[in-house]
Amino acid sequence: MLSAKTRYTQLTEHLEPEEMIINMGPQHPSTHGVLRLELITDGEIVKEVIPHMGYLHRCFEKHCESLSYQQIIPFVDRMDYLASMNNDHAFVMGVERMLGIDKDIPKRIEYIRVLVCELNRIGSHLIAIGTYGIDIGAFTPFLWCFRDREHIMNMLEWASGSRMLYNYIWVGGLFYDLPVGFEERCREFIEYFKPKLKELDGLLTDNQIFINRTAGVGILPLDVAINYGCSGPMLRGSGLKWDLRRVDEYSVYPELEFDIPVGKGEMGKAGDCWDRYKVRVDEIVESVRIIEQCLERLQKELKRTPEFDPRAKLPKKIIPKEQDFYVRAENPKGELGYYFMTDGKTEIPKRVKARAPSFNNLSVLPEIARGVLIADLVAILGSIDIVLGEVDR
Protein backbone atom coordinates (compact mmCIF):
# COMPACT_ATOMS: atom_id res chain seq x y z
CA MET A 1 0.00 0.00 0.00
CA LEU A 2 2.81 2.39 0.87
CA SER A 3 5.58 2.14 -1.63
CA ALA A 4 8.16 4.54 -0.22
CA LYS A 5 10.08 3.53 2.87
CA THR A 6 9.05 5.31 6.02
CA ARG A 7 11.60 7.27 7.98
CA TYR A 8 11.44 4.64 10.69
CA THR A 9 12.60 1.91 8.29
CA GLN A 10 15.32 4.13 6.87
CA LEU A 11 16.64 4.84 10.34
CA THR A 12 16.59 1.33 11.71
CA GLU A 13 17.40 -0.98 8.80
CA HIS A 14 21.10 -0.08 8.46
CA LEU A 15 23.19 0.74 11.48
CA GLU A 16 26.80 1.82 11.49
CA PRO A 17 29.17 -0.56 13.31
CA GLU A 18 29.37 1.70 16.36
CA GLU A 19 25.63 2.25 16.56
CA MET A 20 23.27 0.34 18.77
CA ILE A 21 19.54 0.39 19.34
CA ILE A 22 18.54 0.74 22.97
CA ASN A 23 15.00 0.29 24.07
CA MET A 24 13.77 2.56 26.85
CA GLY A 25 10.37 1.78 28.28
CA PRO A 26 7.46 1.16 28.15
CA GLN A 27 8.10 0.19 31.77
CA HIS A 28 10.69 2.75 32.70
CA PRO A 29 10.42 5.17 35.62
CA SER A 30 11.65 8.18 33.67
CA THR A 31 9.23 7.82 30.77
CA HIS A 32 6.37 8.94 33.05
CA GLY A 33 4.03 6.15 32.09
CA VAL A 34 3.93 3.68 29.27
CA LEU A 35 5.98 5.45 26.65
CA ARG A 36 8.52 3.45 24.69
CA LEU A 37 11.53 5.22 23.26
CA GLU A 38 13.74 3.54 20.72
CA LEU A 39 17.17 5.12 20.86
CA ILE A 40 19.83 4.80 18.20
CA THR A 41 22.96 5.38 20.20
CA ASP A 42 26.65 5.77 19.62
CA GLY A 43 28.14 5.06 23.00
CA GLU A 44 26.47 7.47 25.39
CA ILE A 45 25.28 9.77 22.63
CA VAL A 46 21.72 9.59 21.38
CA LYS A 47 21.76 9.86 17.61
CA GLU A 48 18.05 9.45 17.09
CA VAL A 49 14.97 9.04 19.25
CA ILE A 50 11.90 7.25 17.96
CA PRO A 51 8.92 7.42 20.33
CA HIS A 52 6.36 4.63 20.21
CA MET A 53 3.11 5.22 21.98
CA GLY A 54 -0.37 3.81 22.10
CA TYR A 55 0.08 1.55 25.11
CA LEU A 56 -2.55 3.54 26.95
CA HIS A 57 -4.89 4.06 23.99
CA ARG A 58 -8.42 3.79 25.33
CA CYS A 59 -10.36 4.66 22.17
CA PHE A 60 -11.65 8.01 23.43
CA GLU A 61 -12.98 9.03 20.02
CA LYS A 62 -14.55 5.65 19.37
CA HIS A 63 -16.37 5.80 22.70
CA CYS A 64 -17.61 9.28 21.88
CA GLU A 65 -19.43 7.93 18.84
CA SER A 66 -22.02 6.37 21.12
CA LEU A 67 -22.18 8.65 24.15
CA SER A 68 -24.09 11.83 24.88
CA TYR A 69 -22.27 15.02 25.84
CA GLN A 70 -22.89 14.60 29.55
CA GLN A 71 -21.69 11.01 29.41
CA ILE A 72 -18.45 12.02 27.68
CA ILE A 73 -17.31 14.18 30.61
CA PRO A 74 -16.05 11.21 32.70
CA PHE A 75 -14.08 10.03 29.67
CA VAL A 76 -12.61 13.48 29.25
CA ASP A 77 -11.48 13.29 32.89
CA ARG A 78 -9.34 10.32 32.08
CA MET A 79 -7.27 11.96 29.35
CA ASP A 80 -5.00 14.18 31.37
CA TYR A 81 -5.76 12.49 34.65
CA LEU A 82 -3.60 14.94 36.59
CA ALA A 83 -5.73 17.88 35.52
CA SER A 84 -9.25 16.53 35.16
CA MET A 85 -10.94 19.78 36.12
CA ASN A 86 -9.19 21.62 33.31
CA ASN A 87 -10.22 18.96 30.80
CA ASP A 88 -13.82 19.22 31.94
CA HIS A 89 -13.78 22.97 31.82
CA ALA A 90 -12.61 23.08 28.21
CA PHE A 91 -15.10 20.45 27.11
CA VAL A 92 -18.03 22.01 28.92
CA MET A 93 -17.12 25.43 27.55
CA GLY A 94 -17.25 24.09 24.01
CA VAL A 95 -20.66 22.52 24.45
CA GLU A 96 -22.03 25.62 26.17
CA ARG A 97 -20.85 27.84 23.34
CA MET A 98 -22.46 25.57 20.78
CA LEU A 99 -25.72 25.71 22.74
CA GLY A 100 -25.39 29.46 23.11
CA ILE A 101 -25.74 29.41 26.90
CA ASP A 102 -22.16 30.36 27.76
CA LYS A 103 -23.18 33.93 28.61
CA ASP A 104 -25.98 32.87 30.98
CA ILE A 105 -23.85 30.92 33.41
CA PRO A 106 -24.03 32.56 36.85
CA LYS A 107 -20.86 34.32 38.01
CA ARG A 108 -20.57 32.17 41.10
CA ILE A 109 -20.42 29.04 39.00
CA GLU A 110 -17.76 30.52 36.73
CA TYR A 111 -15.67 31.55 39.72
CA ILE A 112 -15.96 28.11 41.28
CA ARG A 113 -14.89 26.57 37.98
CA VAL A 114 -11.84 28.79 37.76
CA LEU A 115 -11.03 28.13 41.42
CA VAL A 116 -11.05 24.36 41.06
CA CYS A 117 -9.21 24.54 37.73
CA GLU A 118 -6.41 26.59 39.23
CA LEU A 119 -6.19 24.27 42.23
CA ASN A 120 -5.85 21.42 39.79
CA ARG A 121 -3.25 23.35 37.79
CA ILE A 122 -1.15 23.67 40.94
CA GLY A 123 -1.56 19.94 41.54
CA SER A 124 -0.47 19.13 38.02
CA HIS A 125 2.55 21.41 38.14
CA LEU A 126 3.55 20.01 41.52
CA ILE A 127 3.65 16.54 39.97
CA ALA A 128 5.67 17.91 37.07
CA ILE A 129 8.22 19.52 39.37
CA GLY A 130 8.37 16.66 41.86
CA THR A 131 8.84 13.94 39.29
CA TYR A 132 11.27 16.10 37.37
CA GLY A 133 13.39 16.36 40.50
CA ILE A 134 13.38 12.61 40.99
CA ASP A 135 14.22 12.06 37.31
CA ILE A 136 17.51 13.81 37.75
CA GLY A 137 18.32 12.64 41.22
CA ALA A 138 16.67 14.95 43.75
CA PHE A 139 14.45 12.90 46.01
CA THR A 140 13.19 15.43 48.56
CA PRO A 141 11.17 17.72 46.26
CA PHE A 142 9.20 14.70 45.10
CA LEU A 143 8.02 13.98 48.64
CA TRP A 144 7.32 17.62 49.39
CA CYS A 145 5.32 18.07 46.19
CA PHE A 146 3.21 15.01 46.86
CA ARG A 147 2.64 16.09 50.44
CA ASP A 148 1.28 19.47 49.33
CA ARG A 149 -0.66 18.04 46.42
CA GLU A 150 -2.42 15.72 48.82
CA HIS A 151 -4.12 18.76 50.39
CA ILE A 152 -5.45 19.77 46.97
CA MET A 153 -6.63 16.23 46.29
CA ASN A 154 -8.45 16.18 49.63
CA MET A 155 -10.17 19.49 48.94
CA LEU A 156 -11.26 18.50 45.47
CA GLU A 157 -12.46 15.17 46.79
CA TRP A 158 -14.51 17.03 49.34
CA ALA A 159 -16.14 19.04 46.59
CA SER A 160 -16.66 16.35 43.98
CA GLY A 161 -16.53 13.03 45.78
CA SER A 162 -13.59 11.75 43.81
CA ARG A 163 -9.86 12.08 44.29
CA MET A 164 -8.60 12.48 40.75
CA LEU A 165 -11.38 11.97 38.22
CA TYR A 166 -13.89 14.53 39.30
CA ASN A 167 -16.77 14.82 36.80
CA TYR A 168 -17.54 18.01 38.73
CA ILE A 169 -18.05 20.62 36.02
CA TRP A 170 -21.21 19.94 34.06
CA VAL A 171 -22.71 21.50 30.97
CA GLY A 172 -24.59 24.54 32.27
CA GLY A 173 -23.46 24.27 35.87
CA LEU A 174 -21.81 22.13 38.46
CA PHE A 175 -22.35 18.78 40.10
CA TYR A 176 -22.84 20.46 43.47
CA ASP A 177 -22.06 23.79 45.05
CA LEU A 178 -18.84 23.93 47.04
CA PRO A 179 -19.26 22.27 50.43
CA VAL A 180 -19.85 24.60 53.37
CA GLY A 181 -16.52 25.77 54.72
CA PHE A 182 -14.59 25.04 51.50
CA GLU A 183 -13.55 28.65 50.95
CA GLU A 184 -12.15 28.93 54.48
CA ARG A 185 -10.34 25.62 54.16
CA CYS A 186 -8.92 26.72 50.81
CA ARG A 187 -7.68 29.97 52.35
CA GLU A 188 -5.97 28.00 55.07
CA PHE A 189 -4.31 25.87 52.45
CA ILE A 190 -3.07 28.90 50.53
CA GLU A 191 -1.60 30.39 53.70
CA TYR A 192 0.09 27.05 54.43
CA PHE A 193 1.24 26.60 50.85
CA LYS A 194 2.91 29.96 50.21
CA PRO A 195 5.92 29.43 52.51
CA LYS A 196 6.14 25.79 51.40
CA LEU A 197 6.42 26.97 47.81
CA LYS A 198 9.33 29.22 48.75
CA GLU A 199 11.01 26.27 50.45
CA LEU A 200 10.50 24.11 47.41
CA ASP A 201 11.80 26.86 45.17
CA GLY A 202 14.94 27.17 47.28
CA LEU A 203 15.49 23.46 47.14
CA LEU A 204 15.66 23.19 43.36
CA THR A 205 15.78 26.51 41.54
CA ASP A 206 19.15 27.69 42.81
CA ASN A 207 20.53 24.25 43.44
CA GLN A 208 23.84 24.03 41.60
CA ILE A 209 23.47 20.33 40.83
CA PHE A 210 20.03 20.93 39.43
CA ILE A 211 21.26 23.86 37.35
CA ASN A 212 24.13 21.82 35.97
CA ARG A 213 21.76 19.11 34.90
CA THR A 214 19.16 21.38 33.29
CA ALA A 215 20.59 24.73 32.21
CA GLY A 216 21.56 24.77 28.55
CA VAL A 217 20.17 21.24 28.05
CA GLY A 218 17.46 20.47 25.53
CA ILE A 219 17.24 23.96 24.10
CA LEU A 220 14.02 24.42 22.21
CA PRO A 221 14.21 27.45 19.91
CA LEU A 222 11.00 29.44 19.62
CA ASP A 223 10.48 28.88 15.87
CA VAL A 224 10.86 25.12 16.30
CA ALA A 225 8.43 25.17 19.23
CA ILE A 226 5.77 26.96 17.19
CA ASN A 227 6.29 24.81 14.11
CA TYR A 228 5.92 21.64 16.16
CA GLY A 229 2.72 22.88 17.76
CA CYS A 230 4.16 23.08 21.27
CA SER A 231 2.06 24.99 23.75
CA GLY A 232 1.80 25.75 27.42
CA PRO A 233 4.98 25.86 29.52
CA MET A 234 6.94 24.42 26.57
CA LEU A 235 6.15 27.42 24.39
CA ARG A 236 6.42 29.94 27.20
CA GLY A 237 9.70 28.42 28.30
CA SER A 238 11.02 29.34 24.87
CA GLY A 239 10.18 32.95 25.57
CA LEU A 240 6.79 33.62 24.02
CA LYS A 241 4.03 35.24 26.07
CA TRP A 242 1.21 33.05 24.84
CA ASP A 243 -1.46 32.00 27.28
CA LEU A 244 -4.94 31.19 26.02
CA ARG A 245 -6.43 32.40 29.28
CA ARG A 246 -5.35 35.86 28.14
CA VAL A 247 -5.56 35.40 24.36
CA ASP A 248 -9.10 33.99 24.25
CA GLU A 249 -10.21 35.63 27.49
CA TYR A 250 -12.60 32.82 28.29
CA SER A 251 -14.61 32.30 31.47
CA VAL A 252 -13.86 34.99 34.10
CA TYR A 253 -10.13 35.21 33.43
CA PRO A 254 -10.40 38.79 32.05
CA GLU A 255 -11.58 39.89 35.52
CA LEU A 256 -8.60 38.33 37.26
CA GLU A 257 -5.13 39.69 37.64
CA PHE A 258 -2.21 37.44 36.83
CA ASP A 259 1.00 37.54 34.86
CA ILE A 260 2.29 35.17 32.23
CA PRO A 261 5.76 33.91 33.18
CA VAL A 262 8.13 33.23 30.30
CA GLY A 263 11.57 31.68 30.04
CA LYS A 264 14.38 34.21 29.85
CA GLY A 265 17.40 31.97 29.77
CA GLU A 266 18.58 33.11 33.19
CA MET A 267 20.78 30.09 33.81
CA GLY A 268 21.58 28.93 30.30
CA LYS A 269 19.86 29.72 27.05
CA ALA A 270 16.20 30.60 26.57
CA GLY A 271 14.13 27.47 26.02
CA ASP A 272 16.29 25.05 27.98
CA CYS A 273 15.04 22.58 30.55
CA TRP A 274 15.65 24.97 33.43
CA ASP A 275 13.44 27.61 31.81
CA ARG A 276 10.61 25.17 31.35
CA TYR A 277 10.93 24.14 34.99
CA LYS A 278 11.02 27.76 36.12
CA VAL A 279 7.94 28.68 34.10
CA ARG A 280 6.02 25.97 35.95
CA VAL A 281 7.19 27.23 39.33
CA ASP A 282 6.19 30.78 38.43
CA GLU A 283 2.85 29.60 37.13
CA ILE A 284 2.08 28.06 40.51
CA VAL A 285 2.65 31.48 42.08
CA GLU A 286 0.27 33.04 39.54
CA SER A 287 -2.31 30.33 40.17
CA VAL A 288 -2.11 31.07 43.89
CA ARG A 289 -2.83 34.71 43.06
CA ILE A 290 -5.84 33.73 40.96
CA ILE A 291 -7.17 31.47 43.72
CA GLU A 292 -6.90 34.27 46.26
CA GLN A 293 -8.89 36.61 44.02
CA CYS A 294 -11.51 33.93 43.40
CA LEU A 295 -11.87 33.25 47.12
CA GLU A 296 -12.19 36.96 47.79
CA ARG A 297 -15.13 37.19 45.42
CA LEU A 298 -16.71 33.89 46.42
CA GLN A 299 -16.74 35.00 50.05
CA LYS A 300 -17.98 38.54 49.46
CA GLU A 301 -20.12 39.59 46.50
CA LEU A 302 -20.76 36.07 45.20
CA LYS A 303 -21.46 34.56 48.59
CA ARG A 304 -23.34 31.31 48.84
CA THR A 305 -27.08 31.75 49.32
CA PRO A 306 -29.64 29.10 50.25
CA GLU A 307 -31.46 29.60 46.92
CA PHE A 308 -28.34 29.12 44.82
CA ASP A 309 -28.65 25.99 42.71
CA PRO A 310 -25.66 25.11 40.54
CA ARG A 311 -27.86 22.78 38.52
CA ALA A 312 -30.51 25.37 37.74
CA LYS A 313 -29.21 26.10 34.25
CA LEU A 314 -28.54 22.52 33.21
CA PRO A 315 -30.17 22.03 29.81
CA LYS A 316 -32.77 19.25 29.78
CA LYS A 317 -31.52 18.01 26.46
CA ILE A 318 -28.15 18.90 25.02
CA ILE A 319 -28.74 19.16 21.29
CA PRO A 320 -26.52 21.79 19.66
CA LYS A 321 -27.32 23.06 16.18
CA GLU A 322 -25.69 21.30 13.25
CA GLN A 323 -22.19 22.64 12.97
CA ASP A 324 -18.47 22.05 13.40
CA PHE A 325 -16.89 23.70 16.39
CA TYR A 326 -13.36 23.87 17.71
CA VAL A 327 -12.77 25.02 21.26
CA ARG A 328 -9.41 25.52 22.90
CA ALA A 329 -8.35 26.27 26.45
CA GLU A 330 -5.17 26.54 28.45
CA ASN A 331 -4.48 23.32 30.32
CA PRO A 332 -1.50 22.92 32.67
CA LYS A 333 0.27 21.17 29.78
CA GLY A 334 -0.77 23.51 27.01
CA GLU A 335 -3.51 24.08 24.49
CA LEU A 336 -6.26 21.53 24.90
CA GLY A 337 -8.68 21.54 21.98
CA TYR A 338 -11.86 19.72 21.17
CA TYR A 339 -13.26 19.49 17.71
CA PHE A 340 -16.99 18.78 17.69
CA MET A 341 -19.08 17.75 14.72
CA THR A 342 -22.79 17.76 15.48
CA ASP A 343 -25.81 16.78 13.42
CA GLY A 344 -28.38 18.91 15.25
CA LYS A 345 -30.76 15.99 15.77
CA THR A 346 -29.46 13.77 18.52
CA GLU A 347 -27.74 14.16 21.85
CA ILE A 348 -24.79 12.16 20.55
CA PRO A 349 -22.09 14.12 18.72
CA LYS A 350 -21.05 12.87 15.28
CA ARG A 351 -17.42 13.30 16.19
CA VAL A 352 -15.35 14.55 19.08
CA LYS A 353 -11.65 14.84 18.48
CA ALA A 354 -9.33 15.89 21.24
CA ARG A 355 -6.22 17.87 20.46
CA ALA A 356 -4.00 16.89 23.34
CA PRO A 357 -1.17 19.21 24.38
CA SER A 358 1.07 16.37 25.55
CA PHE A 359 0.78 14.67 22.16
CA ASN A 360 2.10 17.72 20.34
CA ASN A 361 4.68 18.58 22.97
CA LEU A 362 6.07 15.07 22.76
CA SER A 363 6.40 15.25 18.98
CA VAL A 364 9.26 17.72 19.32
CA LEU A 365 11.34 15.29 21.40
CA PRO A 366 13.18 13.63 18.45
CA GLU A 367 14.13 17.10 17.24
CA ILE A 368 15.62 18.46 20.48
CA ALA A 369 17.08 15.18 21.75
CA ARG A 370 19.27 14.54 18.72
CA GLY A 371 22.91 14.37 19.76
CA VAL A 372 22.43 14.59 23.52
CA LEU A 373 23.64 12.18 26.19
CA ILE A 374 21.28 9.46 27.36
CA ALA A 375 21.19 10.98 30.85
CA ASP A 376 20.21 14.33 29.32
CA LEU A 377 17.44 12.67 27.37
CA VAL A 378 15.85 11.82 30.71
CA ALA A 379 16.17 15.46 31.76
CA ILE A 380 14.60 16.64 28.50
CA LEU A 381 11.74 14.19 28.63
CA GLY A 382 11.00 15.16 32.22
CA SER A 383 10.92 18.83 31.32
CA ILE A 384 8.34 18.23 28.58
CA ASP A 385 5.96 16.95 31.28
CA ILE A 386 3.82 14.51 29.35
CA VAL A 387 0.90 12.53 30.62
CA LEU A 388 0.51 9.34 28.67
CA GLY A 389 -3.22 9.24 29.24
CA GLU A 390 -3.41 12.30 27.07
CA VAL A 391 -0.81 11.32 24.48
CA ASP A 392 -2.64 8.09 23.74
CA ARG A 393 -6.16 9.12 24.65
Partner: protein, 165 residues
Protein backbone atom coordinates in the same frame (compact mmCIF):
# COMPACT_ATOMS: atom_id res chain seq x y z
CA UNK B 1 -7.66 39.88 8.50
CA UNK B 2 -11.18 38.59 8.83
CA UNK B 3 -12.72 35.59 7.16
CA UNK B 4 -13.88 37.42 4.02
CA UNK B 5 -10.54 39.08 3.45
CA UNK B 6 -8.70 35.77 3.75
CA UNK B 7 -11.12 34.29 1.24
CA UNK B 8 -10.46 37.13 -1.22
CA UNK B 9 -6.73 36.85 -0.67
CA UNK B 10 -6.81 33.17 -1.61
CA UNK B 11 -9.07 33.83 -4.61
CA UNK B 12 -6.72 36.53 -5.90
CA UNK B 13 -3.66 34.42 -5.39
CA UNK B 14 -4.82 31.02 -6.64
CA UNK B 15 -7.84 31.80 -8.84
CA UNK B 16 -11.47 30.87 -8.36
CA UNK B 17 -10.79 27.11 -8.56
CA UNK B 18 -9.14 27.04 -5.15
CA UNK B 19 -12.35 27.52 -3.21
CA UNK B 20 -14.82 24.67 -3.44
CA UNK B 21 -17.30 25.89 -0.88
CA UNK B 22 -17.74 28.34 1.92
CA UNK B 23 -19.40 27.04 5.09
CA UNK B 24 -20.91 29.88 7.08
CA UNK B 25 -23.84 28.28 8.85
CA UNK B 26 -22.29 27.49 12.23
CA UNK B 27 -20.55 29.67 14.77
CA UNK B 28 -17.17 29.03 13.19
CA UNK B 29 -16.90 29.49 9.46
CA UNK B 30 -14.81 27.26 7.27
CA UNK B 31 -13.29 27.35 3.79
CA UNK B 32 -13.42 24.18 1.74
CA UNK B 33 -10.29 24.13 -0.38
CA UNK B 34 -9.47 22.22 -3.55
CA UNK B 35 -7.55 19.15 -2.30
CA UNK B 36 -4.92 19.49 -5.02
CA UNK B 37 -3.90 22.92 -3.76
CA UNK B 38 -4.14 22.54 0.01
CA UNK B 39 -0.39 22.37 0.65
CA UNK B 40 0.24 25.55 -1.33
CA UNK B 41 -2.69 27.32 0.31
CA UNK B 42 -1.35 26.42 3.74
CA UNK B 43 2.12 27.62 2.82
CA UNK B 44 0.72 30.90 1.55
CA UNK B 45 -1.39 31.40 4.67
CA UNK B 46 1.61 30.71 6.87
CA UNK B 47 4.06 32.93 5.02
CA UNK B 48 1.84 35.83 4.00
CA UNK B 49 2.54 38.71 6.35
CA UNK B 50 -1.12 39.65 6.51
CA UNK B 51 -2.32 36.24 7.68
CA UNK B 52 0.70 34.58 9.31
CA UNK B 53 -0.96 31.36 10.45
CA UNK B 54 2.17 29.94 12.05
CA UNK B 55 0.50 27.50 14.42
CA UNK B 56 -1.43 24.40 13.42
CA UNK B 57 -3.74 23.71 16.34
CA UNK B 58 -5.41 20.58 15.13
CA UNK B 59 -5.72 18.31 12.15
CA UNK B 60 -8.61 15.88 11.95
CA UNK B 61 -9.34 13.10 9.50
CA UNK B 62 -13.06 12.69 8.96
CA UNK B 63 -15.23 9.96 7.49
CA UNK B 64 -18.45 11.67 6.41
CA UNK B 65 -20.53 8.51 6.50
CA UNK B 66 -21.34 5.52 4.35
CA UNK B 67 -23.98 7.23 2.19
CA UNK B 68 -21.94 10.36 1.64
CA UNK B 69 -18.99 8.42 0.19
CA UNK B 70 -16.73 11.24 1.24
CA UNK B 71 -13.56 11.56 3.26
CA UNK B 72 -12.03 14.77 4.43
CA UNK B 73 -9.43 16.50 6.51
CA UNK B 74 -10.05 19.52 8.72
CA UNK B 75 -7.26 21.94 9.59
CA UNK B 76 -7.47 24.37 12.50
CA UNK B 77 -4.97 27.14 12.04
CA UNK B 78 -4.00 29.79 14.55
CA UNK B 79 -1.97 32.92 14.12
CA UNK B 80 0.10 33.91 17.11
CA UNK B 81 0.84 37.55 16.14
CA UNK B 82 -2.73 38.30 14.99
CA UNK B 83 -4.44 36.08 17.57
CA UNK B 84 -6.78 34.81 14.87
CA UNK B 85 -8.08 31.38 13.96
CA UNK B 86 -9.15 29.78 10.70
CA UNK B 87 -10.69 26.47 9.70
CA UNK B 88 -9.84 24.86 6.37
CA UNK B 89 -11.35 21.69 4.99
CA UNK B 90 -10.62 19.40 2.13
CA UNK B 91 -12.91 16.64 0.91
CA UNK B 92 -12.68 13.89 -1.64
CA UNK B 93 -15.13 11.36 -2.93
CA UNK B 94 -14.03 7.86 -2.23
CA UNK B 95 -15.63 4.50 -2.77
CA UNK B 96 -14.68 2.70 0.42
CA UNK B 97 -14.77 -0.72 -1.23
CA UNK B 98 -11.47 -0.21 -3.05
CA UNK B 99 -8.15 -1.05 -1.44
CA UNK B 100 -6.59 2.29 -2.27
CA UNK B 101 -6.99 4.69 0.61
CA UNK B 102 -8.31 8.20 0.10
CA UNK B 103 -5.24 10.37 -0.24
CA UNK B 104 -4.54 14.02 0.49
CA UNK B 105 -1.49 16.21 0.25
CA UNK B 106 0.58 16.31 3.40
CA UNK B 107 1.22 19.64 5.12
CA UNK B 108 4.25 18.34 7.05
CA UNK B 109 6.52 20.69 5.17
CA UNK B 110 4.50 23.67 6.35
CA UNK B 111 4.04 22.66 9.99
CA UNK B 112 6.09 19.79 11.34
CA UNK B 113 3.43 19.09 13.94
CA UNK B 114 1.22 17.83 11.12
CA UNK B 115 3.33 14.71 10.86
CA UNK B 116 1.98 13.09 13.99
CA UNK B 117 -1.52 14.42 13.42
CA UNK B 118 -1.51 12.89 9.94
CA UNK B 119 -0.24 9.62 11.32
CA UNK B 120 -3.15 9.64 13.74
CA UNK B 121 -5.63 10.36 10.94
CA UNK B 122 -4.08 7.56 8.91
CA UNK B 123 -4.21 5.21 11.86
CA UNK B 124 -7.79 5.81 12.91
CA UNK B 125 -9.65 6.90 9.76
CA UNK B 126 -7.52 5.35 7.03
CA UNK B 127 -6.57 8.47 5.13
CA UNK B 128 -3.26 8.50 3.32
CA UNK B 129 -1.07 11.59 3.06
CA UNK B 130 1.26 12.04 0.10
CA UNK B 131 4.54 13.45 1.24
CA UNK B 132 4.38 12.42 4.90
CA UNK B 133 7.81 10.88 5.53
CA UNK B 134 6.76 8.53 8.29
CA UNK B 135 3.22 7.34 7.67
CA UNK B 136 2.86 4.49 10.15
CA UNK B 137 0.26 3.61 12.70
CA UNK B 138 0.74 5.68 15.82
CA UNK B 139 -1.81 4.74 18.47
CA UNK B 140 -2.87 1.24 17.44
CA UNK B 141 -0.54 -1.76 17.12
CA UNK B 142 1.25 -2.11 13.78
CA UNK B 143 -0.68 -5.22 12.84
CA UNK B 144 -4.13 -3.85 13.56
CA UNK B 145 -6.64 -4.49 10.81
CA UNK B 146 -9.07 -1.84 9.71
CA UNK B 147 -9.59 1.78 10.68
CA UNK B 148 -11.71 2.13 13.82
CA UNK B 149 -13.14 5.60 13.21
CA UNK B 150 -14.59 4.69 9.82
CA UNK B 151 -18.34 4.55 9.97
CA UNK B 152 -18.47 1.05 8.51
CA UNK B 153 -15.89 -0.38 10.92
CA UNK B 154 -16.86 -3.63 12.56
CA UNK B 155 -14.91 -4.54 15.67
CA UNK B 156 -12.85 -7.68 15.23
CA UNK B 157 -13.93 -10.74 17.17
CA UNK B 158 -10.48 -11.61 18.32
CA UNK B 159 -7.00 -10.17 18.36
CA UNK B 160 -4.16 -12.69 18.20
CA UNK B 161 -6.30 -15.41 19.64
CA UNK B 162 -7.65 -13.23 22.46
CA UNK B 163 -11.39 -12.85 22.36
CA UNK B 164 -12.71 -9.29 22.32
CA UNK B 165 -16.12 -8.37 23.57
Amino acid sequence: MDFGEIKNLLLNKFGSGVLVEEQTTGLQHALVIDPEQIANVCLELRDNEQTYFDFLSCLTGVDYGVEEKKFGVVYHLASIPFKSQLTLKVMKEHDRTSDILPSFQSVCEVWRTAEWHEREAFDLTGISFEGNPDLRRILLPDDWEGYPLRKDYVAAEEYKGIKIN
